[in-house]
């Protein structure tokens, strides 16, 4: 039996980097840890499926 596998969001970066000298990495979300990241991945995946025609 083949199990149905749902696709995943692997990475999310928010906003745009205006700085023309280096990449701005957001450490704000980092403070919430891995559980928050996993929950965010599931939520973004669900929203993406819902809003893509």
């Amino acid at each position: 039996m083949k199990l149905f596998r749902r696709g995943r969001v692997l990475q999310a970066t928010f906003g745009c980097n205006p700085n023309s000298s280096s990449l701005g990495v957001d450490v704000t979300f980092l403070l919430f840890g891995a559980v928050f990241a996993s929950a965010m991945a599931v939520m973004l995946g669900a929203l993406l499926r819902r809003d893509t025609p």
């Binding site: 596998r5 696709g7 692997l10 999310a12 970066t13 700085n19 990241a37 996993s38 993406l48 893509t52």
Partner: protein, 390 residues
């Protein structure tokens, strides 16, 4: 959630969201669920460079009247600049490659009379233009024109007298006025703050300013000893390097603001051993020159980042940037594979990528570990001193 564009990659693809503004890396399965066609890239090994940078830093000019003492591009009032036609041709090529964002800067990009036309051109080609400015000379009319940009950050390295001490001229009131004008036009306005040895203790004042003006981000940039900065003794002390990430955390909690760190601060973050899964998911990583990002210099050089001068191609030549991307930038891309100690045994190597290549290069060895990394400093302190024969 509104999808603007999708680009296939080896691992699946990158989805650009317009609202909220974000780039999502998704796997091949999710790409199929979203109705995207099969990509030939999906047959390649997952490990490998992106098909194109997601972001390119276009250093439009080395022209600026401010004369900041630590300017990393050594900008002067008569510095070199890309012409309008050259900038547009380069943007055309970047759009064809699939680049999502450009960060326009200099020099002082607002001194160029074609800046807004270049930004409009980027928009017309589907690229989001973003801008860093000192705010000098920005009035309400030009602030209104800045609506064309995605994110705009104004450089503020200190508040009041601390600004003058950091930059060498009294420009704080101009910067603050520019921030107020811009904030009246759009919410995506923030502050870039260079964190140096002497400005470190004043960073909380800048965070208070960000909260007071209701700006959307504070981006802390590491002082790098390049350009005119090479003559200054302003790199962070080992103690400051260790305190940087805890300070950023405090600013987030205390002021309820979004804090970003530039990629060169990665070793200072990972020394504190944050969650690797969270860091990977939110794109917290070290040097991504020649991988996630690239730069175009005012003389046309296509480089891995705007701090390096090693040109992979002349971006003004049609097709040259695309060709260079396909098989260039090995000095950046191969670091993780060839990393020396103490990077080789570091649990965070794949995220940190050895810190900042530009800083390592400024200290004499581009392929060496970042000398500002606390782990590297500890490693070097443990190493026995060489025996000198007498």
């Amino acid at each position: 959630m509104r999808v603007a564009r999708v680009r296939a990659e080896r691992f699946g693809g990158i989805v650009e969201l317009e609202r909220p503004r974000a780039l999502l890396h998704v796997d091949q399965e999710l790409m199929r669920e979203l109705g995207e066609p099969e990509s030939p890239l999906w047959g390649l090994p997952v490990e490998g460079p992106l098909s194109a940078p997601t972001e390119v830093h276009v250093v439009l000019s080395r022209r600026c009247a401010a004369g900041c003492k630590g300017c990393y591009v050594d900008a002067t009032p008569q510095g070199a600049a890309l012409s309008f036609e050259e900038a547009c041709r380069i943007l055309d090529e970047l759009a064809e490659m699939g680049v999502f964002h450009v960060a326009l800067g200099g020099g002082e990009a607002l001194e160029l009379d074609y800046l807004f036309a270049v930004a409009e051109h980027a928009r017309a080609r589907g690229i989001t233009p973003n801008l860093t400015t000192s705010g000098l000379g920005l009035d309400q009319t030009s602030a209104r024109k800045c609506a064309v940009f995605g994110q705009i950050n104004v450089s503020v390295d200190g508040v009041g007298a601390a600004y003058e001490k950091a930059r060498g001229f009294d420009g704080f009131r101009h910067a603050e006025r520019a921030l107020r004008f811009l904030r009246a036009v759009k919410p995506e306005v923030g502050v870039n703050c260079v964190v140096s040895r002497s400005s470190f203790d004043h960073v909380p004042d800048v965070a208070r300013l960000v909260r007071k003006l209701r700006l959307n981000e504070l981006e802390l940039l590491r002082f790098k000893p390049v350009g005119r900065g090479a003559r200054l003794d302003e790199e962070l002390t080992p103690q400051q390097s260790r305190e940087l990430f805890p300070m950023a955390r405090r600013l987030v909690w205390r002021h309820r603001i979004r804090v970003k760190l530039d990629c060169s601060f990665a070793p200072m973050v990972f020394w504190h051993k944050p969650s690797k899964a969270a860091a990977a998911f939110f794109g917290v990583q070290g040097c991504v020159g020649g991988d996630v990002l690239a730069a175009v210099q005012p003389e046309g050089a296509f480089t891995g980042c705007s701090f390096t001068s090693q040109a992979a191609a002349d971006a003004r030549v049609p097709g040259a940037a695309r060709a260079a991307w396909a098989d260039g930038f090995h000095e950046f891309r191969d670091y993780v594979r060839d990393a020396p100690e103490p990077c080789a045994s570091c649990d965070y190597l794949r995220l940190c990528r050895g810190g900042c290549r530009a800083v390592a290069g400024a200290h004499g060895a581009f392929a060496a570990p970042d000398p500002g990394c606390p782990r590297v400093q500890e490693h070097r302190a443990r190493r026995p001193l060489p025996v000198i024969a007498t």
